[in-house]
């Protein structure tokens, strides 16, 4: 009972159908059978780290299927060796959750290094230097000194600059990890924390939270910082040192605050009839922050079109019907304000939406293989407005039928930008332009009138099989510690890269596969970590389908000083 109730709870909270669908496309895992080798050494401090698992992972760092392709364990010298590897793009990562990378203490994914491995190649000296992360532990109790069980603890970086204190937004780590939860004694223990200064809190404010079923009069805890401050500026800052342990970071929570429920109906705007089985949701509205605040998804409306959200704190919100399911309809979000009391009688009106339809084509297509894969293409559409009230769009875009046709329905009026979907997009495909009635649309934006059926849209793709293999060389200096480089390729004068940027690996190598033939401008960018500026690098290159092209990009660190002066 416990399991089901908890899961049904969470489920209703998140609204599975919508959120589950946001999963990323599973990366094709390279075969682990080949003749390549990756070897290196893991050290902790200056000493070899024995018994550390080192995983070979797909280069795509996101997705539920991010399973190790191979695994090695370090020996008494800290050495590891991953063998029989096929050529491919990988990430190599030691798994040592209590440790952080010495090279980059602040990087979230601090331990892995990317490697572009060629056939039969041996990469050695892929070394990892780790230091023990810090620990913050404490106990969370309520006003009656009873333990607060199963609450999530949030950890955020805090820095003081002069009189001003800056804190990182929510949690710097995912607080869904079990170590952020208090146990039955109210105790939590967070480890593997990069050295630095932090604030620790429990509870929720209007920025956080999702629809909470079952939260009624008892309410929820106001966000409270160690030791007992509800005002973030009065939070005691915790200093975490390398391998250090900050203990007794206790939090005393106040009594719970009252939350309120919101109810209403979903009706057909034209007939006034209630609509059943419609998923509803809400988002918090904050005047100066157009981006997502709290988003909650309720469950579906009942036979009388009724919906209900529970556990909302006072504030301004908008209620909407969640799109994303194949539907012809849309609704205009309805704003509401919670002061002191439940909100009832909201009406969300559903109207027949506009649509965009047309055909996806491959420019100059003759390639049967490309045509056969057209149905792997998904078209994303994204509203081009920063309307605070707009309902968020869930989903993974619209599928393209095998004959190339597509139809996106249930759209509100407005401008929509069409993009090539998938992360990564299907290999070899890139978006060239979007045409409407034979006219290229700037930045792929289609203007959709209310209820209009926009037809004759051409989603013009390119298909390429060129391979670009590159080497980044750093001259007159070294890169800042922890800086991660990316390379993107775009057509001359194009606003957008043709393919998403690729990571430059630990050896300065990168590979782009599936580029359409032609001339490109390569640009080097970085994640900005490690401090200092990396001088911009732009280089032109011409690639041919089915041919591998080599390129070298040179970063002249001396140029950095020039630009800074």
């Amino acid at each position: 009972m416990k399991f089901l109730s908890r899961l049904t709870l969470i489920l209703s909270l998140l609204g599975c159908t919508a959120l589950c669908a946001q999963k990323v496309v599973v990366a094709q895992a390279p075969q682990a059978t080949g003749t390549g080798t990756i070897a290196g050494r893991v050290t902790i401090g200056d000493k070899p780290a024995q018994g550390i698992a080192v995983l070979l992972l797909p280069a795509e760092r996101y997705g539920p299927e991010r399973k190790p392709i191979a695994r090695a364990t370090t020996d008494s010298e800290g050495q590891f060796r991953l063998m029989n590897l096929a050529a491919g793009r990988y990430e190599v990562a030691p798994v040592a959750p209590a440790f952080v990378s010495a090279a980059n203490l602040m990087h979230e994914r601090n331990q892995g290094k990317s490697v572009n491995l060629a056939e039969g190649e041996t990469v050695d000296k892929l070394d990892f230097s780790l230091v023990r992360g810090g620990v913050i532990t404490g106990r969370v109790t309520d006003a009656d000194a009873r333990p607060v069980i199963g609450q999530n603890v949030r950890l955020a970086t805090a820095a003081t600059q002069g009189n001003e204190r800056r804190t990182g937004g929510g949690s710097m780590f995912s607080f869904s990890s079990p170590m952020f939860q208090t146990d039955d004694r109210g105790i939590y223990r967070i480890y593997g924390i990069p050295p630095g200064t932090y604030v620790v809190s429990v509870g929720e404010d209007s920025r956080s939270g999702i629809a909470r079923i079952g939260i009624g009069r008892g309410g929820i805890y106001t966000r409270t910082f160690h030791p007992n401050a509800t005002d973030e500026s009065k939070a005691t800052i915790i200093e975490v040192t390398e391998g250090g342990e900050a203990t007794n970071v206790d939090i005393t929570l106040n009594r719970r605050v009252t939350t309120y429920s919101v109810s209403g109906r979903v009706i057909d705007a034209e007939t006034g009839k209630p609509l059943a089985n419609i998923r509803t949701g809400y988002r918090s509205l904050r005047p100066n922050e157009p981006q997502v605040g709290a988003i909650g998804l309720g469950s579906r409306t009942d036979a009388e079109g009724n919906f209900r959200f529970e556990g909302l704190m006072p504030g301004r919100y908008a209620a909407f019907t969640a799109n994303g399911e194949r539907s012809e309809d849309y609704s205009t979000p309805v704003s509401f304000e919670i002061n002191e009391g439940d909100v009832t009688g909201l009406t969300i009106k559903v109207r027949r939406g506009a649509s965009i339809s047309g055909v996806a084509v491959i420019e100059g297509a003759g390639d049967r293989a490309a045509l056969a894969r057209l149905s792997q293409v998904r078209i994303y559409y994204w509203p081009e407005s920063n309307d605070n009230l707009a309902a968020p769009i869930f989903g993974q875009g619209e599928r393209v039928n095998p004959d190339g046709s597509f139809r996106i329905s249930g759209l509100p009026p407005g401008k929509f930008r069409l993009m090539l979907g998938g992360w990564p997009p299907p290999k070899g495909f890139s978006l060239l332009r979007v045409e409407r009635d034979g006219v290229e649309q700037r930045a792929g934006i289609i203007d959709v009138p209310a209820g209009g059926q926009v037809t004759g849209v051409r989603f013009v793709l390119e298909y390429g099989t060129a391979i670009l293999r590159g080497q980044v060389r750093v001259e007159n200096g070294t890169l800042p510690e922890g800086a991660q480089l990316y390379v993107s390729a775009r057509r001359p004068a194009a606003a957008e890269p043709t393919l998403p940027g690729v990571e430059v690996d630990a050896r300065g190598r990168f590979v782009m596969e599936g580029l359409p033939a032609g001339q490109y401008e390569l640009r080097l960018g970085s994640n900005g970590l490690g401090g200092g500026r990396i001088p911009p690098v732009v280089q032109n290159v011409v690639v041919t389908n089915g041919v591998e092209t080599q390129v070298t990009l040179v970063i002249d660190m001396a140029a950095k000083d020039e630009t800074n002066k």
Binding site: M1, K2, F3, S5, R6, L7, T8, L11, S12, C16, L19, C20, Q22, K23, V24, V25, G51, Y62, G63, P64, E65, R66, R71, A93, I149, S174, S176, P178, D183, R189, Y191, I213, G214, I215, G216, R217, G218, G219, A276, R300, T301, D302, A303, E304, N306, F307, R308, G324, E325, R326, Q376, W382, E398, M419, W423, S488, P497, P500, G501, G525
Partner: protein, 630 residues
Amino acid sequence: MNDRLRISVRTPELSIGRARPLIFLLVLLHIMAAAATAQTTARQPSGNQQPDGKAVSAAPPNGTITGRVLADEGHPVANAAIVAFGLNTGGPPAGDTTDADGKFEVKNLRPGAYNVQVTAPGYVVLPEAGAELGSPRLYRVGETVNFTLVKGGVITGTVTDSSGEPVIAATVRAVRVRKPTEQPAASFSYIMPRMTDDRGIYRLYGIEPGIYVIAVGGSVQSYGSVNAYDGDAPTYYPSATRDNAAELTVRAGEELTGIDVRYRGERGHTVSGFVSGQLSDPNSRYGGVSITLTQAASGMPESFTFIQSEDSTRSFALNGAADGEYFLTAMRNVGNTSEVLMAMRKISVRGADVTGVELKLEALGALSGNVVLEPLPKADCRNQRNSTLEEIAIAARRDAKTKKDEENTLPFLFFRRMRVAPSAKGEFTLHNLRDGSHRLDVQLPGEDWYVRSITLPGAAVAAATATPRAAAQSKTTQTPGVFTLKPGERLSGLTVTIGQGAARLSGRVAQAAEGASLPANLRVHLVPVEAERAADALRYMETSVESDGKFALGGIAPGRYWILARIAPAVNGNEDEERRPLAFEAAERDKLRREAESAGMKIDLQPCQRLADYVLNYNQTSQPKQPSVK
């Protein structure tokens, strides 16, 4: 100049990647989607019945369900989350949180049957003792629910590797193998897994009483996040495989310390294959198939994966499987409904990878029909509760004798106890029914109604005209309310006729022999006197007798009955198993009838009659000996 940043802006779903561990949740949620829509429950909380088991008030248009949550030591439990899932609404569940006095009030509920659940961290809800014939209690608007919670047990210890170093961030699970009563576990009890910390220490809490084994590592933890133990077979406490795992007895509120595990770090095997059948759904933008590997013995999910609907390879691979028996299930939702397509295979892992397993998605069966309410008989029937059809709960109970082990390991027990409520017009459909024999179980609001008949037009004709062999395979047997479905079969046009003006009988069983006490497991049975009703299982009633001899039966169709007290046959297997009323087994029914007839106690119940203080003499010597099934 930062192209990476630009990418993250233009590709909204990248943000999910940033929250990688969330995917764990999302994936889990997906498999639960159907279950939640159907609003099923694995076990009903222990709600105290009204003193006389009777509903107290007429159903108002909208109303409340109130109640109180107490810990077994008697103090109120504050801040417990209450959720009421309406069977008929299909709409949002409503809830409340208990106040300092443990009280709650779920407001603004439409009339209907509600499944009310409580969650309080660290506590467990004990199963209702002697729940009548495995029918979990539902509550109607205006009723009161009282929950009794006990502190869950705690298991804590340290996990180290072969060199004594702490094993960090490994998932630790408690898997229940038996209930405290030493019967095999019917269904796994889900205890939230926890992870070892940087010292290798873990602490599991909120554990239901029972006999457990502790599993560390394994692929169950690898949903979407990478860890060092992915692909390992789980190590069981103290440092064993599943077969040699030491068992731990957990009692309510007790803490077991020093449950230290020496991690073996053995590689598990891979179970791989492909999914056939309709992978994607033309009516949904979403899709995808969830695949679960479940321990056959305990019903514990071991590993989980997901195939995207557009994945042309249709293949899956689950790693970290230790030697043993498993069920492999694939499931996906049909459109935006609660219907699912399913495939299920039993597999055995023996020292090697299992490859090429085909999971063919197939549609499941359905039963649909109408509930018809007969007019109130002329008899003077005041105090009838003003019930509505929407307060009825209907379930199809699959005959547990068919493929019992499968039944126990269906993903999260989703199919076992799905109940639906008819619409205001009386229409109902039960989806996701697997092949086999199903008994339609109709739970009525209050005690003033009774099920007069359950019919399927055409079935009787078919039975009459067919050969005996065909008749045996026909959709309905002679027992009303029992239907046999072929795989994917959909039966419609059922009519459930509800009679009003039911009678009620209460009293006690008295031991005829001087000084002797009543035996345990005593049950009172009503057997229809008329010969033409001999096969009508709906006319047979039974209830348990309390230790002081008291019993009560409501919702009795008016008529003449033999009344008999007899010892219930021992339950074979686990206690969670649905117990069918004896009358649904033809042989048991005939035996019961013979015994009741020879005992010769007869009663005549009029419409709406409330017969109280009835004394039934129990003469042990006249009872035939019950063979012990166990």
